[in-house]
Protein backbone atom coordinates (compact mmCIF):
# COMPACT_ATOMS: atom_id res chain seq x y z
CA UNK A 1 0.00 0.00 0.00
CA UNK A 2 1.50 3.36 -0.96
CA UNK A 3 1.22 6.52 1.13
CA UNK A 4 -1.67 8.11 -0.74
CA UNK A 5 -3.93 5.04 -0.66
CA UNK A 6 -3.12 4.61 3.02
CA UNK A 7 -4.23 8.20 3.66
CA UNK A 8 -7.45 7.63 1.73
CA UNK A 9 -8.06 4.49 3.78
CA UNK A 10 -7.68 6.47 7.00
CA UNK A 11 -10.18 9.05 5.81
CA UNK A 12 -12.92 6.59 4.97
CA UNK A 13 -12.56 3.20 6.67
CA UNK A 14 -14.10 0.25 4.86
CA UNK A 15 -17.29 -0.93 6.54
CA UNK A 16 -17.12 -3.82 8.98
CA UNK A 17 -18.30 -7.22 7.82
CA UNK A 18 -20.31 -7.62 11.00
CA UNK A 19 -21.80 -11.03 10.17
CA UNK A 20 -18.34 -12.51 9.65
CA UNK A 21 -17.05 -10.86 12.77
CA UNK A 22 -19.97 -12.16 14.86
CA UNK A 23 -18.84 -15.70 14.06
CA UNK A 24 -15.80 -14.97 16.25
CA UNK A 25 -18.01 -14.54 19.33
CA UNK A 26 -19.51 -17.90 20.38
CA UNK A 27 -21.79 -16.35 23.03
CA UNK A 28 -23.69 -14.34 20.43
CA UNK A 29 -25.32 -17.57 19.20
CA UNK A 30 -27.24 -17.88 22.48
CA UNK A 31 -30.98 -17.81 22.61
CA UNK A 32 -32.48 -16.08 25.64
CA UNK A 33 -36.10 -16.84 26.48
CA UNK A 34 -36.36 -18.45 23.04
CA UNK A 35 -35.25 -15.28 21.26
CA UNK A 36 -31.87 -14.52 19.67
CA UNK A 37 -29.70 -12.68 22.17
CA UNK A 38 -29.27 -8.97 21.42
CA UNK A 39 -26.40 -8.06 23.72
CA UNK A 40 -26.58 -4.30 24.25
CA UNK A 41 -24.84 -4.04 27.62
CA UNK A 42 -21.30 -3.52 26.35
CA UNK A 43 -20.61 -0.47 28.50
CA UNK A 44 -20.88 -2.82 31.49
CA UNK A 45 -18.78 -5.60 29.98
CA UNK A 46 -18.05 -6.80 26.46
CA UNK A 47 -17.98 -10.33 25.07
CA UNK A 48 -14.87 -12.28 24.16
CA UNK A 49 -13.90 -13.54 20.70
CA UNK A 50 -12.67 -17.09 20.13
CA UNK A 51 -9.17 -15.72 19.43
CA UNK A 52 -8.92 -14.51 23.03
CA UNK A 53 -10.61 -17.59 24.51
CA UNK A 54 -8.15 -19.79 22.56
CA UNK A 55 -5.21 -17.78 23.84
CA UNK A 56 -6.36 -18.33 27.44
CA UNK A 57 -6.72 -22.07 26.79
CA UNK A 58 -3.27 -22.23 25.20
CA UNK A 59 -1.73 -20.47 28.19
CA UNK A 60 -3.47 -22.76 30.66
CA UNK A 61 -2.62 -25.93 28.75
CA UNK A 62 0.96 -25.12 27.63
CA UNK A 63 2.49 -22.08 29.33
CA UNK A 64 1.50 -21.50 32.95
CA UNK A 65 3.92 -20.91 35.83
CA UNK A 66 4.58 -17.97 38.11
CA UNK A 67 6.35 -15.06 36.43
CA UNK A 68 9.53 -13.09 37.17
CA UNK A 69 11.10 -15.59 39.54
CA UNK A 70 11.63 -19.00 38.02
CA UNK A 71 14.63 -20.04 35.95
CA UNK A 72 12.71 -22.93 34.44
CA UNK A 73 11.13 -23.17 31.01
CA UNK A 74 7.51 -22.52 31.97
CA UNK A 75 8.27 -19.52 34.15
CA UNK A 76 10.26 -17.96 31.35
CA UNK A 77 7.50 -18.71 28.85
CA UNK A 78 4.83 -17.18 31.08
CA UNK A 79 7.00 -14.14 31.84
CA UNK A 80 7.69 -13.55 28.15
CA UNK A 81 3.97 -13.74 27.32
CA UNK A 82 2.93 -11.48 30.20
CA UNK A 83 5.62 -8.87 29.52
CA UNK A 84 4.95 -9.21 25.80
CA UNK A 85 1.36 -8.19 26.47
CA UNK A 86 2.64 -5.11 28.31
CA UNK A 87 4.51 -4.07 25.16
CA UNK A 88 1.33 -4.62 23.09
CA UNK A 89 -0.54 -2.32 25.48
CA UNK A 90 2.24 0.26 25.25
CA UNK A 91 2.00 0.24 21.45
CA UNK A 92 -1.82 0.26 21.50
CA UNK A 93 -2.00 3.47 23.55
CA UNK A 94 1.27 4.87 22.10
CA UNK A 95 3.01 5.20 25.46
CA UNK A 96 6.64 6.23 25.21
CA UNK A 97 7.92 3.27 27.24
CA UNK A 98 6.57 -0.09 28.40
CA UNK A 99 7.49 0.74 32.01
CA UNK A 100 4.79 3.42 31.91
CA UNK A 101 2.18 0.65 31.66
CA UNK A 102 1.19 -0.65 35.09
CA UNK A 103 -0.99 -3.71 35.37
CA UNK A 104 -3.87 -3.30 37.83
CA UNK A 105 -7.07 -5.23 38.53
CA UNK A 106 -9.19 -2.82 36.50
CA UNK A 107 -10.08 0.85 36.15
CA UNK A 108 -11.27 1.17 39.75
CA UNK A 109 -7.98 -0.27 40.99
CA UNK A 110 -6.05 2.08 38.68
CA UNK A 111 -7.87 5.13 40.03
CA UNK A 112 -7.30 3.99 43.62
CA UNK A 113 -3.61 3.50 42.83
CA UNK A 114 -3.35 7.16 41.79
CA UNK A 115 -5.26 8.20 44.91
CA UNK A 116 -2.90 6.27 47.22
CA UNK A 117 0.37 6.66 45.32
CA UNK A 118 -0.01 10.24 44.08
CA UNK A 119 -2.86 11.76 46.10
CA UNK A 120 -1.73 10.77 49.57
CA UNK A 121 1.82 11.93 48.82
CA UNK A 122 1.13 15.23 47.06
CA UNK A 123 -2.33 16.46 48.11
CA UNK A 124 -2.87 18.10 51.49
CA UNK A 125 -5.14 20.34 53.54
CA UNK A 126 -6.78 23.12 51.56
CA UNK A 127 -5.75 21.61 48.21
CA UNK A 128 -8.38 20.98 45.56
CA UNK A 129 -9.19 18.07 43.26
CA UNK A 130 -11.35 18.79 40.23
CA UNK A 131 -13.73 16.09 38.94
CA UNK A 132 -16.76 16.37 36.66
CA UNK A 133 -20.50 15.93 37.03
CA UNK A 134 -20.24 12.95 34.66
CA UNK A 135 -17.95 10.73 36.75
CA UNK A 136 -18.56 7.10 37.59
CA UNK A 137 -18.58 6.53 41.37
CA UNK A 138 -15.10 5.01 41.05
CA UNK A 139 -13.70 8.42 40.07
CA UNK A 140 -15.55 10.20 42.90
CA UNK A 141 -15.36 8.00 45.99
CA UNK A 142 -11.54 7.58 46.17
CA UNK A 143 -11.17 11.39 46.02
CA UNK A 144 -13.81 11.88 48.70
CA UNK A 145 -11.89 9.45 50.89
CA UNK A 146 -8.69 11.40 50.27
CA UNK A 147 -10.43 14.74 50.97
CA UNK A 148 -11.72 13.37 54.25
CA UNK A 149 -8.29 12.11 55.23
CA UNK A 150 -6.31 15.21 54.20
CA UNK A 151 -8.79 18.04 54.50
CA UNK A 152 -8.69 18.66 50.75
CA UNK A 153 -11.67 19.83 48.72
CA UNK A 154 -13.52 18.28 45.80
CA UNK A 155 -14.63 20.68 43.05
CA UNK A 156 -17.08 19.62 40.34
CA UNK A 157 -17.23 20.71 36.67
CA UNK A 158 -20.94 21.15 35.85
CA UNK A 159 -22.64 20.03 32.62
CA UNK A 160 -25.46 21.39 30.48
CA UNK A 161 -28.80 19.70 29.72
CA UNK A 162 -27.26 17.79 26.82
CA UNK A 163 -24.69 16.24 29.18
CA UNK A 164 -21.74 18.32 27.92
CA UNK A 165 -19.21 19.73 30.39
CA UNK A 166 -19.09 23.52 30.67
CA UNK A 167 -15.52 24.38 29.76
CA UNK A 168 -15.73 28.01 30.86
CA UNK A 169 -16.79 26.79 34.32
CA UNK A 170 -13.95 24.27 34.23
CA UNK A 171 -11.42 27.02 33.57
CA UNK A 172 -12.75 28.99 36.53
CA UNK A 173 -12.26 25.99 38.82
CA UNK A 174 -8.57 25.67 37.99
CA UNK A 175 -6.39 27.67 40.34
CA UNK A 176 -3.37 27.81 42.59
CA UNK A 177 -4.90 25.24 44.98
CA UNK A 178 -5.74 22.68 42.28
CA UNK A 179 -3.51 19.64 42.64
CA UNK A 180 -5.21 17.22 40.25
CA UNK A 181 -7.89 17.06 37.57
CA UNK A 182 -9.61 13.64 37.40
CA UNK A 183 -12.05 13.35 34.50
CA UNK A 184 -13.73 10.68 32.48
CA UNK A 185 -12.99 10.49 28.76
CA UNK A 186 -16.43 9.08 27.90
CA UNK A 187 -19.43 9.17 30.26
CA UNK A 188 -20.63 5.64 31.04
CA UNK A 189 -24.17 6.83 31.77
CA UNK A 190 -24.69 9.24 28.86
CA UNK A 191 -22.03 8.46 26.25
CA UNK A 192 -20.69 12.05 26.13
CA UNK A 193 -17.15 12.20 24.73
CA UNK A 194 -15.40 14.90 26.74
CA UNK A 195 -12.83 17.16 25.02
CA UNK A 196 -10.08 15.78 27.23
CA UNK A 197 -7.19 16.94 25.04
CA UNK A 198 -8.34 20.54 25.36
CA UNK A 199 -9.04 20.09 29.08
CA UNK A 200 -5.59 18.62 29.68
CA UNK A 201 -3.95 21.55 27.87
CA UNK A 202 -5.89 24.01 30.04
CA UNK A 203 -4.77 22.26 33.24
CA UNK A 204 -1.17 21.97 32.07
CA UNK A 205 -1.03 25.75 31.48
CA UNK A 206 -1.18 25.97 35.27
CA UNK A 207 1.04 22.96 35.87
CA UNK A 208 -1.81 20.73 37.09
CA UNK A 209 -1.58 17.01 36.28
CA UNK A 210 -4.59 15.25 34.73
CA UNK A 211 -5.90 11.74 35.29
CA UNK A 212 -8.25 10.40 32.62
CA UNK A 213 -10.71 7.57 33.30
CA UNK A 214 -10.65 5.86 29.92
CA UNK A 215 -12.77 2.80 30.74
CA UNK A 216 -15.51 3.76 28.27
CA UNK A 217 -13.22 5.28 25.65
CA UNK A 218 -10.46 2.80 24.93
CA UNK A 219 -12.73 -0.01 23.67
CA UNK A 220 -14.26 2.30 21.08
CA UNK A 221 -11.64 4.72 19.71
CA UNK A 222 -7.93 5.05 19.02
CA UNK A 223 -6.18 6.36 22.15
CA UNK A 224 -2.81 8.08 21.94
CA UNK A 225 -1.63 9.05 25.42
CA UNK A 226 1.26 11.13 24.07
CA UNK A 227 -1.04 13.09 21.80
CA UNK A 228 -3.52 13.65 24.65
CA UNK A 229 -0.56 14.47 26.91
CA UNK A 230 -2.48 13.05 29.89
CA UNK A 231 -0.47 12.32 33.03
CA UNK A 232 -2.47 9.19 33.88
CA UNK A 233 -4.87 7.09 31.81
CA UNK A 234 -6.88 4.27 33.43
CA UNK A 235 -8.81 1.44 31.75
CA UNK A 236 -10.11 -2.14 32.07
CA UNK A 237 -9.61 -5.20 29.91
CA UNK A 238 -13.12 -6.62 30.18
CA UNK A 239 -14.79 -3.77 28.29
CA UNK A 240 -12.46 -4.29 25.28
CA UNK A 241 -12.97 -8.01 24.55
CA UNK A 242 -10.47 -9.14 27.20
CA UNK A 243 -10.88 -11.02 30.49
CA UNK A 244 -12.07 -9.54 33.78
CA UNK A 245 -9.63 -9.02 36.66
CA UNK A 246 -7.03 -6.98 34.83
CA UNK A 247 -6.69 -3.37 33.83
CA UNK A 248 -4.06 -0.74 33.21
CA UNK A 249 -2.80 2.48 34.66
CA UNK A 250 -0.70 4.42 32.21
CA UNK A 251 1.40 7.12 33.87
CA UNK A 252 4.22 9.37 32.75
CA UNK A 253 7.46 7.78 33.97
CA UNK A 254 8.68 10.91 35.79
CA UNK A 255 5.47 11.04 37.85
CA UNK A 256 5.36 7.31 38.55
CA UNK A 257 8.92 7.43 39.82
CA UNK A 258 8.02 10.13 42.34
CA UNK A 259 5.00 8.21 43.62
CA UNK A 260 4.75 5.92 46.61
CA UNK A 261 3.86 2.26 46.17
CA UNK A 262 0.20 1.38 46.75
CA UNK A 263 0.50 -2.17 48.03
CA UNK A 264 3.47 -3.87 49.61
CA UNK A 265 4.54 -7.46 48.97
CA UNK A 266 6.52 -9.68 46.68
CA UNK A 267 7.67 -8.53 43.22
CA UNK A 268 7.51 -4.85 44.16
CA UNK A 269 10.81 -4.87 46.05
CA UNK A 270 14.51 -5.11 45.20
CA UNK A 271 15.67 -6.12 48.66
CA UNK A 272 14.09 -6.60 52.06
CA UNK A 273 15.68 -6.59 55.50
CA UNK A 274 13.96 -5.77 58.79
CA UNK A 275 15.88 -2.49 58.80
CA UNK A 276 15.23 -1.32 55.27
CA UNK A 277 13.33 -2.29 52.13
CA UNK A 278 14.31 -1.03 48.70
CA UNK A 279 11.43 -0.76 46.26
CA UNK A 280 11.61 -2.13 42.75
CA UNK A 281 11.67 0.15 39.70
CA UNK A 282 8.50 1.08 37.80
CA UNK A 283 6.26 -0.56 36.74
CA UNK A 284 7.03 -3.36 39.24
CA UNK A 285 7.00 -0.97 42.21
CA UNK A 286 3.20 -0.89 41.79
CA UNK A 287 2.67 -4.59 41.10
CA UNK A 288 2.81 -6.44 44.41
CA UNK A 289 2.08 -10.15 44.49
CA UNK A 290 1.30 -12.65 41.76
CA UNK A 291 -0.89 -10.93 39.16
CA UNK A 292 -3.71 -12.46 37.07
CA UNK A 293 -1.14 -13.64 34.50
CA UNK A 294 -3.55 -15.26 32.08
CA UNK A 295 -5.80 -12.18 32.15
CA UNK A 296 -2.85 -9.97 31.15
CA UNK A 297 -2.00 -12.32 28.29
CA UNK A 298 -5.68 -12.37 27.34
CA UNK A 299 -5.73 -8.57 27.23
CA UNK A 300 -2.78 -8.73 24.85
CA UNK A 301 -4.77 -11.10 22.62
CA UNK A 302 -7.79 -8.78 22.79
CA UNK A 303 -5.60 -5.90 21.59
CA UNK A 304 -4.36 -8.06 18.69
CA UNK A 305 -7.99 -8.78 17.82
CA UNK A 306 -9.17 -5.16 18.00
CA UNK A 307 -6.18 -4.04 15.90
CA UNK A 308 -6.91 -6.71 13.30
CA UNK A 309 -10.43 -5.30 12.97
CA UNK A 310 -9.23 -1.68 13.14
CA UNK A 311 -10.16 0.88 15.78
CA UNK A 312 -11.21 3.42 13.16
CA UNK A 313 -13.62 0.92 11.62
CA UNK A 314 -15.02 -0.01 15.04
CA UNK A 315 -15.62 3.66 15.86
CA UNK A 316 -17.33 4.27 12.51
CA UNK A 317 -19.59 1.23 12.91
CA UNK A 318 -20.67 2.27 16.42
CA UNK A 319 -21.32 5.78 15.17
CA UNK A 320 -23.68 4.34 12.53
CA UNK A 321 -25.45 2.17 15.13
CA UNK A 322 -25.91 5.12 17.48
CA UNK A 323 -27.22 7.35 14.69
CA UNK A 324 -29.71 4.67 13.62
CA UNK A 325 -30.84 4.00 17.21
CA UNK A 326 -31.21 7.73 17.97
CA UNK A 327 -33.30 8.17 14.82
CA UNK A 328 -35.46 5.12 15.68
CA UNK A 329 -36.05 6.38 19.23
CA UNK A 330 -37.29 9.71 17.94
CA UNK A 331 -40.30 7.80 16.61
CA UNK A 332 -41.09 6.03 19.92
CA UNK A 333 -43.84 7.84 21.79
CA UNK A 334 -42.97 8.89 25.35
CA UNK A 335 -39.31 7.87 25.02
CA UNK A 336 -36.72 10.42 26.14
CA UNK A 337 -33.04 10.09 25.37
CA UNK A 338 -30.93 11.23 28.33
CA UNK A 339 -27.63 12.61 27.10
CA UNK A 340 -27.75 14.37 23.74
CA UNK A 341 -24.20 15.67 23.47
CA UNK A 342 -22.97 16.52 19.98
CA UNK A 343 -20.01 14.20 20.48
CA UNK A 344 -21.14 10.80 21.75
CA UNK A 345 -19.89 7.23 21.91
CA UNK A 346 -22.24 4.25 21.36
CA UNK A 347 -24.38 4.72 24.46
CA UNK A 348 -28.12 5.34 24.41
CA UNK A 349 -29.54 6.10 27.84
CA UNK A 350 -33.30 6.56 27.92
CA UNK A 351 -36.45 6.76 29.99
CA UNK A 352 -39.99 5.84 29.04
CA UNK A 353 -42.71 8.05 30.47
CA UNK A 354 -44.68 6.32 33.22
CA UNK A 355 -42.55 3.16 33.25
CA UNK A 356 -39.70 2.48 35.67
CA UNK A 357 -36.45 1.47 33.89
CA UNK A 358 -36.36 -1.85 35.77
CA UNK A 359 -39.71 -2.84 34.32
CA UNK A 360 -38.37 -1.85 30.88
CA UNK A 361 -35.30 -4.04 31.46
CA UNK A 362 -37.29 -7.07 32.60
CA UNK A 363 -39.62 -6.95 29.60
CA UNK A 364 -36.74 -6.38 27.14
CA UNK A 365 -35.01 -9.42 28.66
CA UNK A 366 -38.10 -11.42 27.78
CA UNK A 367 -37.41 -10.42 24.16
CA UNK A 368 -33.77 -11.52 24.40
CA UNK A 369 -32.55 -7.90 24.59
CA UNK A 370 -29.92 -7.27 27.28
CA UNK A 371 -29.70 -3.66 28.50
CA UNK A 372 -28.52 -2.17 31.76
CA UNK A 373 -31.01 -0.45 34.04
CA UNK A 374 -30.38 1.65 37.12
CA UNK A 375 -28.16 4.57 38.05
CA UNK A 376 -25.08 3.08 36.29
CA UNK A 377 -22.88 3.85 39.32
CA UNK A 378 -23.24 7.51 38.39
CA UNK A 379 -25.84 8.83 40.82
CA UNK A 380 -24.69 12.47 40.45
CA UNK A 381 -25.53 12.21 36.73
CA UNK A 382 -29.02 10.94 37.59
CA UNK A 383 -29.43 13.74 40.14
CA UNK A 384 -28.40 16.32 37.51
CA UNK A 385 -31.19 15.12 35.24
CA UNK A 386 -33.71 14.67 38.06
CA UNK A 387 -34.30 10.97 37.47
CA UNK A 388 -33.65 7.93 39.67
CA UNK A 389 -32.47 5.69 36.86
CA UNK A 390 -32.38 5.08 33.12
CA UNK A 391 -32.31 2.10 30.81
CA UNK A 392 -29.09 2.05 28.78
CA UNK A 393 -28.30 0.33 25.50
CA UNK A 394 -24.59 0.34 24.64
CA UNK A 395 -23.08 -0.90 21.40
CA UNK A 396 -19.93 -2.63 20.29
CA UNK A 397 -18.30 -3.87 17.12
CA UNK A 398 -20.51 -6.98 16.82
CA UNK A 399 -23.90 -5.26 17.18
CA UNK A 400 -26.22 -4.95 14.20
CA UNK A 401 -29.00 -2.69 12.96
CA UNK A 402 -31.33 -5.69 13.40
CA UNK A 403 -30.49 -5.68 17.12
CA UNK A 404 -31.39 -2.00 17.29
CA UNK A 405 -34.71 -2.96 15.66
CA UNK A 406 -35.21 -5.68 18.30
CA UNK A 407 -34.59 -3.07 21.01
CA UNK A 408 -37.12 -0.67 19.54
CA UNK A 409 -39.69 -3.46 19.05
CA UNK A 410 -39.15 -4.46 22.68
CA UNK A 411 -39.79 -0.88 23.82
CA UNK A 412 -42.99 -0.80 21.79
CA UNK A 413 -44.02 -3.97 23.62
CA UNK A 414 -43.34 -2.28 26.98
CA UNK A 415 -45.53 0.61 25.93
CA UNK A 416 -48.30 -1.80 24.91
CA UNK A 417 -48.14 -3.69 28.23
CA UNK A 418 -48.23 -0.51 30.27
CA UNK A 419 -50.90 1.00 28.05
Amino acid sequence: MNASSSAAHALKPAALDVERLRADFPILDLKVNGKPLAYLDNAASSQMPRQVIDRLVQYRTREHANIHRGVHYLSETATAAYEGARVKIQRFINAKEAREVIYTHGTTDSLNLVMHGFGRAFIGAGDEIVVSQLEHHSNIVPWQMLCEEKGAKLRVIPCNDAGELLLEEYEKLLGASTRLVAITHVSNALGTINPVKEMIALAHKQGIPVLVDGAQAIPHMKIDVQDLDCDFYAFSSHKMCGPTGIGVLYGKAALLEKMKPFEGGGDMILSVTFEKTVYNVIPHKFEAGTPPIEAGIGLGAAIDYLESVGMDRIAAHEHDLLAYATESFARVKDARIVGTAKSKAGVLSFTLKGVHPHDVGTILNEEGVAVRTGHHCAQPVMQRFGIPATARASFYLYNTMAEVDALVAGIQKVRKIFG
Partner: protein
Protein backbone atom coordinates in the same frame (compact mmCIF):
# COMPACT_ATOMS: atom_id res chain seq x y z
CA UNK B 1 -40.16 -17.24 33.32
CA UNK B 2 -42.29 -15.26 30.89
CA UNK B 3 -42.70 -11.69 32.05
CA UNK B 4 -46.23 -11.83 30.67
CA UNK B 5 -46.93 -13.97 33.74
CA UNK B 6 -45.56 -11.26 35.99
CA UNK B 7 -46.90 -8.19 34.24
CA UNK B 8 -50.49 -9.37 34.52
CA UNK B 9 -53.59 -7.21 34.37
CA UNK B 10 -53.98 -7.10 38.12
CA UNK B 11 -50.40 -5.92 38.70
CA UNK B 12 -50.59 -3.37 35.89
CA UNK B 13 -53.91 -2.11 37.27
CA UNK B 14 -52.53 -1.62 40.79
CA UNK B 15 -49.46 0.10 39.31
CA UNK B 16 -51.63 2.52 37.39
CA UNK B 17 -54.20 3.08 40.14
CA UNK B 18 -52.50 2.31 43.43
CA UNK B 19 -54.96 1.78 46.30
CA UNK B 20 -54.49 3.43 49.70
CA UNK B 21 -52.07 5.97 48.22
CA UNK B 22 -50.93 8.76 50.51
CA UNK B 23 -50.08 9.31 54.13
CA UNK B 24 -52.25 8.79 57.23
CA UNK B 25 -52.52 11.95 59.31
CA UNK B 26 -53.23 9.92 62.46
CA UNK B 27 -50.79 7.02 61.91
CA UNK B 28 -49.67 5.09 64.99
CA UNK B 29 -46.79 3.38 63.15
CA UNK B 30 -44.63 4.46 60.19
CA UNK B 31 -41.63 3.17 58.28
CA UNK B 32 -39.58 4.00 55.22
CA UNK B 33 -38.42 1.29 52.83
CA UNK B 34 -35.50 1.72 50.45
CA UNK B 35 -33.85 -0.41 47.83
CA UNK B 36 -30.70 1.62 47.13
CA UNK B 37 -29.69 -0.52 44.17
CA UNK B 38 -32.74 0.22 42.04
CA UNK B 39 -34.06 3.30 43.77
CA UNK B 40 -37.38 1.88 45.01
CA UNK B 41 -38.38 4.14 47.87
CA UNK B 42 -41.67 3.91 49.77
CA UNK B 43 -43.19 5.40 52.91
CA UNK B 44 -45.76 3.39 54.82
CA UNK B 45 -48.12 4.62 57.52
CA UNK B 46 -50.28 2.35 59.64
CA UNK B 47 -53.00 3.06 62.16
CA UNK B 48 -53.45 0.24 64.64
CA UNK B 49 -56.80 -0.02 66.38
CA UNK B 50 -56.15 -2.39 69.25
CA UNK B 51 -54.78 -5.53 67.66
CA UNK B 52 -56.14 -4.69 64.22
CA UNK B 53 -54.74 -2.80 61.22
CA UNK B 54 -57.44 -0.12 61.20
CA UNK B 55 -55.98 1.84 58.30
CA UNK B 56 -52.87 1.78 56.13
CA UNK B 57 -51.45 3.95 53.35
CA UNK B 58 -48.29 4.18 51.23
CA UNK B 59 -46.59 6.52 48.82
CA UNK B 60 -43.24 6.72 47.09
CA UNK B 61 -41.34 6.20 43.88
CA UNK B 62 -40.79 2.73 42.56
CA UNK B 63 -41.06 0.25 39.72
CA UNK B 64 -44.37 -1.36 38.82
CA UNK B 65 -43.64 -4.55 40.73
CA UNK B 66 -42.94 -2.68 43.97
CA UNK B 67 -45.85 -0.31 43.59
CA UNK B 68 -48.38 -3.04 42.78
CA UNK B 69 -47.04 -5.19 45.61
CA UNK B 70 -47.43 -2.25 48.01
CA UNK B 71 -50.92 -1.47 46.80
CA UNK B 72 -52.15 -5.07 47.01
CA UNK B 73 -50.52 -5.46 50.41
CA UNK B 74 -52.49 -2.54 51.81
CA UNK B 75 -55.80 -3.90 50.55
CA UNK B 76 -54.94 -7.35 51.93
CA UNK B 77 -53.87 -6.42 55.45
CA UNK B 78 -56.43 -3.71 56.16
CA UNK B 79 -58.81 -5.03 58.83
CA UNK B 80 -56.56 -7.99 59.67
CA UNK B 81 -54.97 -8.55 63.09
CA UNK B 82 -51.26 -7.83 63.55
CA UNK B 83 -50.60 -11.59 63.88
CA UNK B 84 -52.44 -12.30 60.63
CA UNK B 85 -50.49 -9.53 58.89
CA UNK B 86 -47.17 -10.96 60.14
CA UNK B 87 -48.19 -14.39 58.88
CA UNK B 88 -48.97 -12.95 55.46
CA UNK B 89 -45.59 -11.15 55.44
CA UNK B 90 -43.87 -14.50 56.07
CA UNK B 91 -45.86 -16.30 53.40
CA UNK B 92 -45.30 -13.58 50.80
CA UNK B 93 -41.57 -13.56 51.46
CA UNK B 94 -41.39 -17.34 51.24
CA UNK B 95 -43.32 -17.34 47.97
CA UNK B 96 -41.12 -14.66 46.42
CA UNK B 97 -37.92 -16.47 47.41
CA UNK B 98 -39.22 -19.83 46.23
CA UNK B 99 -39.55 -21.46 49.65
CA UNK B 100 -43.30 -21.71 49.46
CA UNK B 101 -45.23 -23.04 46.48
CA UNK B 102 -48.37 -20.92 46.61
CA UNK B 103 -50.29 -23.35 44.41
CA UNK B 104 -49.75 -26.44 46.60
CA UNK B 105 -48.55 -25.40 50.10
CA UNK B 106 -51.24 -24.12 52.49
CA UNK B 107 -51.30 -20.31 52.62
CA UNK B 108 -53.46 -17.21 52.86
CA UNK B 109 -52.04 -15.36 49.88
CA UNK B 110 -55.08 -15.48 47.60
CA UNK B 111 -54.69 -13.00 44.72
CA UNK B 112 -51.19 -12.12 45.93
CA UNK B 113 -50.13 -15.29 44.09
CA UNK B 114 -49.76 -13.17 40.94
CA UNK B 115 -46.33 -12.29 42.35
CA UNK B 116 -45.16 -15.94 42.41
CA UNK B 117 -43.25 -15.35 39.14
CA UNK B 118 -40.65 -13.05 40.72
CA UNK B 119 -38.90 -16.05 42.22
CA UNK B 120 -37.52 -16.71 38.72
CA UNK B 121 -36.19 -13.13 38.47
CA UNK B 122 -33.64 -12.81 41.30
CA UNK B 123 -32.96 -9.16 40.50
CA UNK B 124 -36.65 -8.34 41.01
CA UNK B 125 -37.40 -10.32 44.18
CA UNK B 126 -36.48 -7.36 46.38
CA UNK B 127 -38.84 -5.07 44.45
CA UNK B 128 -41.79 -7.28 45.39
CA UNK B 129 -40.72 -7.89 48.97
CA UNK B 130 -39.79 -4.30 49.93
CA UNK B 131 -43.29 -3.17 51.03
CA UNK B 132 -43.74 -6.31 53.13
CA UNK B 133 -40.50 -5.73 55.00
CA UNK B 134 -41.42 -2.11 55.44
CA UNK B 135 -44.71 -3.22 56.98
CA UNK B 136 -42.87 -5.60 59.28
CA UNK B 137 -40.59 -2.72 60.32
CA UNK B 138 -43.53 -0.40 60.93
CA UNK B 139 -45.38 -2.96 63.05
CA UNK B 140 -42.21 -3.51 65.09
CA UNK B 141 -41.58 0.24 65.47
CA UNK B 142 -38.47 0.34 63.30
CA UNK B 143 -38.10 3.53 61.33
CA UNK B 144 -36.32 2.36 58.18
CA UNK B 145 -35.63 -0.78 56.28
CA UNK B 146 -33.14 -1.20 53.47
CA UNK B 147 -32.72 -4.12 51.11
CA UNK B 148 -28.92 -3.82 51.27
CA UNK B 149 -26.21 -4.15 53.89
CA UNK B 150 -26.64 -5.46 57.40
CA UNK B 151 -30.35 -4.89 57.26
CA UNK B 152 -30.91 -6.84 54.06
CA UNK B 153 -33.95 -8.96 54.94
CA UNK B 154 -33.41 -11.44 52.11
CA UNK B 155 -29.78 -12.09 53.06
CA UNK B 156 -30.71 -12.24 56.75
CA UNK B 157 -33.14 -14.97 55.85
CA UNK B 158 -30.32 -17.07 54.38
CA UNK B 159 -27.95 -16.70 57.31
Amino acid sequence: MDSKNLYQEVILDHNKKPRNWGKLADASHQAEGLNPLCGDHIWLSVKLEGEKVGDIAFEGESCAICKASSSMMTTNVKGKSVDEAEELIREFRDMATGKLDASSDPNHLGRLRVFAGVRDLPSRVKCAILPWHTLHAALNSEATVSTEGDRDPVAAEDR
